[in-house]
Symmetry: C2
Subunit: 117 residues, 2 copies
DNA sequence: CTAAACAGTGGAGTACGCTCCAAGGTCAAG
DNA sequence: CTTGACCTTGGAGCGTACTCCACTGTTTAG
């Protein structure tokens, strides 16, 4: 798969993918003509990158996951582990949101002390 | 309260607070000697800023809330409205996270296709 | 009176995550 | 053989959110 198709399928720009390659977030083979050639799994990987990113992980952190994954003896197992870890993060994030929601909820209509200056 | 104390209580650096003032995220009176003088409520406000930020709101968005709040005829009512709106945003974000979680959950242990090459 | 601890300003620099060129090579269709 | 869609590279630029610096002024304690 060349970069344009990958970009379309992953919902990213080509420039973004080239940028990700530069920082080691994706790797691609090259065709004889120099064009990048990505495996279909890269689409899944990029979706995961997006997910992790919205969860607050930096590209550097995600890149470290990528390396761990690549070096793992069992990649399916490693991936499951990664996902489980992300799920824990999501749960924590949701708990945070719930707490904030409760806090705001309690303040609604109370003329609470956030009067500014 | 001068900037140093505010910084300590809010867990931010003085530079950050001066930066926030520059972009209109906090406002302060000035003492006769030119030093900034913040009200105690600013601490609460800054905590709110921190929270909103970790939830993914940009400083610009938070700043708009701040202005709406300041310009509102009835500040208590405006604040309630703001909180209710935030709650809706939070609910939406939680639903998003729940979907993400379900997605990851479904992949765990399936030896899903994310082999990286 | 002096030293230390605070405060002020303006402006430069940094890290992150893109985004947009410009100039050029590759390739299939007509 | 040209046109157009695709690809390449390097490098500049941008928005966000700080962070640091140099230099200066103010206040307080000894």
């Amino acid at each position: 798969m060349r970069i344009g198709e990958l970009a379309a399928q992953a919902g990213l720009s080509k420039d973004t993918i080239r940028f990700y390659e530069k920082i080691g977030l994706v790797t691609g083979r090259r065709l004889p003509n120099g064009y990048r050639d990505f495996s279909p799994e890269t689409v899944t990987w990029l979706h995961y990158v997006r997910t992790a990113q919205t969860l607050g992980f930096s590209l550097a952190e995600i890149g470290r996951n990528f390396e761990e994954l690549r070096d793992a003896p069992d990649s399916a197992e490693a991936l499951s582990g990664l996902f489980e870890e992300k799920i824990r993060v999501i749960d924590a994030r949701m708990a945070e949101l719930a707490a904030l929601r409760a806090d705001l909820d309690a303040r609604v209509g109370t003329g609470c002390p956030l009067r500014v200056s």
